[in-house]
Assembly symmetry: C2
Homo-oligomer: 198 residues x 2
C-alpha cells in the first residue's frame, strides 16, 4: 500500500492524487485505507517517516563507522546512493514535498533538519575550523540534494545519453566515489586515488 502510494505521489504529486485512486492502485477498498491511515496526509507522513528513518540511520552509522573525514564522507555517500537506488519513489516524494507546507509533516522535517545539523557539526565541521562560518543547517541539505539530484534527473539522463550509460552497480559505485571526490577535494583539488570500480 505504501509502495503504491509512493509511486502515485512521485508520478503525479501529492496534491494531484486522490484517496480513491490510492485505494484502486493498492487494490484495497477506500474504507480500508480510511481505517488504517485516516487521511491522505497520514499516508504521506508514514512514507516520509520511513525514508527519513532509513536515511538518518544511514548517515549516523556512516559517520560513526569511520575515523577520518575522508572515510566518513565516502561511507555516507556510498550508503546514501544505496538508499536512493532502492527507494526511488519515496525519495521523489520527499524531494518534491520538501518546499511544500503540508502541515502534517512540517514538524518532522524541522526535527530532521536539526538532527542533520548535529550530525554534520559533530562529525565533520568540528574538525574543520576553517569551515566554521558555513551555517551548518545549510551544508547538510546541500550535500544530500547533490547526491539525490541524479535520481531526479535520471529519466532525462537516459534520453540524453542513450546507450552510452548503463545505470548498473558499476555505474553507482563510480558515481558514489566521484561525488565523494567532489565533496572532499572540489573541482580544483587533487584526485588522490583512481576510481574503485571502472
Amino acid at each position: 500500500m505504501l509502495h503504491a502510494a509512493a509511486r502515485l505521489f512521485a508520478q503525479q504529486g501529492y496534491s494531484g492524487t486522490g484517496m480513491r485512486q490510492l485505494a484502486a492502485e493498492a487494490g484495497v477498498s477506500l474504507s480500508m485505507i480510511n481505517y488504517y491511515f485516516g487521511s491522505k496526509a497520514a499516508v504521506l507522513e508514514q512514507l516520509v517517516t520511513g525514508l527519513h528513518e532509513v536515511y538518518f540511520e544511514t548517515i549516523r552509522s556512516a559517520f560513526e563507522s569511520a575515523d577520518t573525514i575522508e572515510e566518513k564522507i565516502r561511507a555516507y555517500v556510498r550508503a546514501a546512493v544505496e538508499v536512493a537506488r532502492t527507494r526511488p519513489h519515496e525519495l521523489r516524494c520527499a524531494f518534491t514535498e520538501l518546499p511544500d507546507e503540508v502541515p502534517e509533516i512540517a514538524a518532522q522535517k524541522i526535527e530532521r533538519l536539526r538532527e542533520l545539523t548535529v550530525l554534520w557539526q559533530t562529525h565533520i565541521l568540528a574538525h574543520r575550523p576553517h569551515l566554521a562560518d558555513l551555517p551548518v543547517p545549510v551544508l547538510g541539505p546541500a550535500v544530500g540534494q547533490m547526491i539525490a539530484s541524479h535520481f531526479m534527473v535520471r529519466p532525462m539522463l537516459q534520453k540524453v545519453l542513450g546507450d552510452q550509460l548503463v545505470f548498473d552497480d558499476a555505474f553507482y559505485a563510480r558515481y558514489a566515489e566521484q561525488i565523494a571526490d567532489l565533496l572532499l577535494y572540489g573541482l580544483l583539488g587533487p584526485r588522490p586515488s583512481p576510481p574503485v570500480v571502472d
Copy 2:
C-alpha cells in the same frame, strides 16, 4: 498572471492547482486564461521556459566572463544565487516538476540538460582532465541543485535557526562564496581567501 501561477504551483503543486483557481488568484476570467494559454500545461511551460532562459543565460555569461575555473565558478554561483533569490516561486516549480513527466515540458528539460552538458564540458571539464570520468550530464544538475537546495529548505531553516540568521544581502554574498569554496576546494581543501563579506 504567470507570477500568480508560480506562487500557486509552488504552494500546492502543479497537479493540485486548477485553472479556475489560477484565474481567481490572478484576478482574471477563466475564459481569458483559456484564450491566452489554452491549458494549464501551457502556463507551466511558459513559467519554466522563462526561468530556464534566465538561468542558462546566467551560466553562459558567467562562464564566458572569466578566464580561470575559479572565477568562472564564483561568477556562476553568485549569479545563480541572484536568480534564485529573485524568482523563488519559479525555482520551486521547476524544482518540484523536475522528476515529473508533464509531457509538455519533457522535451524542453532534455534540451536544457544537453545545453548544460556542453557548457560544463567546454568551460570546466575540458581543462580538468582528471575529472573526465565524471559523466558531464551528472555534474551540471548536481551543482545546480546544490545551490538551489537552500531555497527549498529556507522556510524550515528559519524555524530551526530563529533569529540567528537573517537572509539578507550579506548572508547571500557569504553563501555564494561558501558554496563556491566548497565546489572548488571541497571539505578538505584550502580556503584561500577570507569570505568577501562578513
